[in-house]
């Protein structure tokens, strides 16, 4: 029997994660015994238009981080195109602080397959790919077994579940690049090329994999689809707040007593998530800051955390819901060190395609390392903010923004920590300031 990564919380609304913890939850029999493939059959009955309409009604938004309305994305895929259509699952879960897709693939892979099948019906596609991040090597083996079982039991292939619907699923492993979570870089990588982002337009919906119409979504997005079809878009939308349908698998990490992945409805109060769902901060220490949705989001100060966790509320607070990777930082956290760690990650992951991201992240990493060591002047702190702003919005893809946004927010909100570091080193006679 498998052990869950974390004990579930009674405060959760378990929809996508409802099979987590069941014995053999990843097996087809378990899936079938708990309502599996009912949504698929229903989807075949109601047909593409109705499927897309339900997904639209559900107010489901992309769970990868950008939060684009899923129903709208599906409606962009031309169904009567001369080229084949592809369904692609983005399982390149790489945003620091995010660890939900692996659970969905490990504990309920059939839910994902069913979501792909329904998407296949919606855009008249016969082929799907699951692009799994290179570091999730063990999941590839696991998914291979699942796909094999699905084929041998007739739930993939020429005649899915005896319905005459044809659908094939292929697995593809990444090679360990954050950039390949960007949908177009993922497509290049999938096609066997160097993983660098493509120019948009054309968008993948029109010209994606092998220049064919492509429906590309996150694991969690696809996993939500069977529930939407089975219970109706209205029901799913009702779980969350207006325009923010459903639940999210929130990955709470950092300074909390019970870190883990919790399924919470959209619009859930952030402080309640930290203090009740995740058991609060160890040692009763005070909250200092929160990264709300993966390391690319602007950091929130403790005082800014009294808000509802949905796309729009977080946008209003100047941050993002992102990928659901919530990192809690208590009063002991060194924010300069945090900024450095974040920049080190993006510098390492920058694909190098465009100048501002390639050079900007490298420069900023060097500067932050220097400031972290207490070497520098107040003007250097300004320069960190300025260089980040020079990257922001000017890079080829969003990776540059992802590196810039948290840095800008940390410099703005925690400038005193940078200054203190410079002062203390100067006071110790280690360096001269000014």
């Amino acid at each position: 029997m498998k052990i869950l990564y974390n004990e579930p919380s009674p405060l959760e609304t378990r929809v996508l994660s409802r099979r987590f913890g069941l014995e053999n939850s990843e097996r087809l029999d378990t899936y079938l015994a708990t309502g599996g493939f009912e949504a698929f059959r229903k989807a075949l009955e109601i047909g593409p238009d109705q499927i897309i309409s339900e997904v639209k009604t559900s107010a489901l938004r992309g769970r990868g981080g950008a939060g684009f309305p899923t129903g709208m994305k599906w409606s962009f895929v031309p169904r009567n195109h001369p080229k084949p259509r592809y369904i692609i699952v983005n399982a390149d879960e790489s945003e620091p602080g995010t660890c939900k897709d692996r659970l969905l693939m490990e504990y309920d892979p059939y839910q994902l397959l069913e979501g792909m099948l329904i998407a296949g019906i919606a855009v008249d596609s016969r082929k799907g790919y699951i692009y799994v991040r290179g570091e999730y090597r063990y999941l590839i083996t696991h998914l291979e077994r699942v796909v094999e079982e699905a084929y041998s039991r007739g739930y993939l292939g020429k005649n899915v579940a005896g319905t005459g619907f044809e659908f094939d699923v292929y697995l593809h492993s990444g090679a360990g690049a954050y950039e390949c979570g960007e949908e177009t870089a993922l497509l290049d990588s999938l096609e066997g090329k160097r993983g660098i982002p493509r120019m948009k337009p054309p968008f993948p919906a029109v010209s994606g994999a092998w220049q064919s119409p492509t429906l590309l979504n996150n694991v969690e997005t696809f996993s939500a689809v069977p529930h939407i079809i089975l219970n109706g878009g209205q029901w799913f939308a009702g779980l969350g707040t207006p325009k923010n349908g459903g639940t999210r698998l929130v990955c709470i990490s950092g300074h909390v007593n019970k870190p883990g992945v919790y399924e919470l409805p959209l619009g859930y109060p952030m402080l309640k998530a930290i203090y009740e769902v995740a058991g609060g901060i160890p040692g009763g220490r005070k909250l200092k800051a929160v990264i709300p949705g993966g390391s690319s989001c602007p950091v929130l100060r403790a005082a800014e955390c009294d808000l509802a966790m949905d796309y729009d509320s977080l946008a209003k607070a100047g941050s993002m819901l992102g990928s659901g990777g919530m990192v809690v930082m208590d009063e002991t956290t060194d924010m300069v060190r945090a900024a450095l760690r974040i920049m080190a990650f993006y510098q390492h992951e920058s694909c190098g395609w465009c100048i501002p991201c390639r050079e900007g992240t490298a420069w900023l990493r060097k500067m932050l390392a220097r400031l972290d060591a207490g070497i520098g002047t107040p003007a250097d702190i300004d320069l960190v903010g300025e260089l980040s702003k020079n990257m922001l919005g000017r890079t080829f893809c969003a990776l540059g923004d992802a590196a810039a946004m948290p840095t800008i927010s940390i410099v703005e909100k925690f400038r005193d920590e940078f200054e203190a570091k410079l002062q203390s080193y100067a006071a110790a006679g280690l360096v001269q300031v000014g």
């Binding site: 510098q347 920058s350 490298a362």
Partner: protein, 702 residues
Amino acid sequence: MAELVTLTIDGAQVQAEKGALLIDVCKARGIEIPAFCYYEGLALQAACRMCLVEVEKMPKLQPGCTLPVAEGMVVKTDTPVIHEARKSMLEFLLANHPLDCPVCDKGGECELQDMTFRYGLGESRFLENKHHVDEQQWSPVVFFDRPRCILCYRCVRICDEGVGVDALGVVQRGVVSAIAPSHGDHLECDECGMCIDICPVGALTSGMYRYKTRPWEMNHVGTICTHCSNGCKTTLGVRGGQVIRANNRDHSGINGEFLCVKGRFGWDFVNSTERAQSPMLRTNGRLEPVSWSRALMTVARKLNEVKQRGGRVGFIASNHTSNEENYYLQKLARQGLRSNNIDHHRTGDVVTLIDALAGRTDALATVADLYAAKASLVIASDLAQQQPLLHFQLRANWRHHRSRTYVVTPGPVRERKFAVKSLHAEPGRELDAVESLRDDLSKEPELVILFGDAIQGDAVRRLVAFGDSLGIPVKYVCLLDYSNSRGAIDMGLAPGLLPGYRPVAEAGLEPGMTIAEMLADASLDVLWVVGANPLRNARLAAENAFVVVNEMFLAETAQRADVIFPAASAYEKEGTVTNVCGEVQSLKKALKVMGAKTDLEIFGLVAAEMGIDLGPFQPGAVFEEIRREVRGYNVSLPVIATGGAAQSVPLNGRVPALTRAELIQSARDTLFTSGTLGRYSKNLTSVLEHPGKLYASGIETP
């Protein structure tokens, strides 16, 4: 007519073709949008982010290099935000770029330098250590200084898209990502140096040019490459009487940005230490240096003596000498010595083609046609090896216009990568293969046929008949080997033809001897060889013949000479040459090599010494005579004078072509060989691929 849209750029209403790129539209209006990665004709990258502009209703700055213009678009290219963006982008670029401009080859013609001057910050705010990697040598001609590289990917694209070699790629990622040869540490490629030429900074440098000079210390002389028949324009960089580099600096001429390894690096024969720099006279069996006057007098006396006693004189002319020299030489032979024993190494059957086309003026393709034609057919030639510019043109035509190429060759060639149909044809069976393409070809709207020396004599007539029977407009290119192979036959360097393809009978002469006949004629009294090396693989039957040689190098034929005139190369003279497509272009004198004279001067001085008047021997005066006298050569002077190419159109009234198939044979030079010139170019003989191989395109290997 393409649909037009109206947009606003910097407050002005502009009409432009719908879908045109903003950067191009701005350029046409005189508004510069700076860019490194954008390069006209190559794939779009949007990587350097220099071209960001403000577009109304778009929240972020937009790259002008990938933005198609649309109706009602409002664009600003000159705002504080954009200035600031350009500044910051250059600041990022310079972070790891070494500021070694004072020793960098590119200094003075560096795009990064220019942009920094125009748009950049005055001072650097980067205090950290720069990322450094040692310089690498990828081939004898290509060096890579990685820290200078700004990763604009132009080199990768020109190699892959432009040349079709794909020798460069990108390795690693992020700040350490780097351009690298696909063979890891070295290049196995065409060694064309296009990557060096296209590099906006000093990252890719030329093994021949590096650390030699600053660009402003050279004279830049635009002339025509003296190697193959394609006639690329090349700008020689000359300093202190030495050629230091060649590139087509202003991208003018029929080749635009293109040059192959020979054009770019094969100029060093000019300054070879083995150049003949003094006339030589055989004295007591040995060649001894003598004065010009002594050598000229000796030859003139000999010729006059032989002429008076009715002896036999033969001339073997060159594929490299100018039209003026060729014209003057045949005048010297025919008018001066009443001899029709004049020939040159013929490398393609132009004569039969001109005859078969029977006076049609629109059936000879230009180099530009190869880029514009909807379809083309290549027969029996490895274009990428033998006709590099023509290959580049066909490839560019396919890349930009999806033109359709058909290939009939005895082995794999690079065009097969993009050809719609490629057929294998054993030598002699080419036309059968061509016949099997009839259905496909007759469906094309138009066609250019390029054929090598395997198609000659009657086969040329059958090919033209085939072209006629397709019922579509067809143009032809008869492929030739060398820089003025076409001009040699146009100027009548053949025993049966006067200049302009007139039969010799018009001049009241009998056809003379061919090269083979001259070499085999035991009673030959004088043989004058001009810029050719017939004795490399043949014997001169007339053991007592007096041999005069105009040469740059003491190659096999010169070793047999009684008198050697040290000749100037094409880079040391004025005049015109005619390329494979019949396009006349102007040579510009780039330098003077001590001791050598141009062949025109040599002919003129010998004639004067002999006491015969053949007219002035200045290139301009002779060209005027050619324009008057030679059919098809009444070309536009302004076009030629401004560095352009004017196609000569030889009209033909069905003259007997007197083609002897066995006399027409290509020398089968590859990209890395070029007859005698190639042997004396260390640059060419140093490349790893030397001497290259025909019909061995690597495309079959995985």
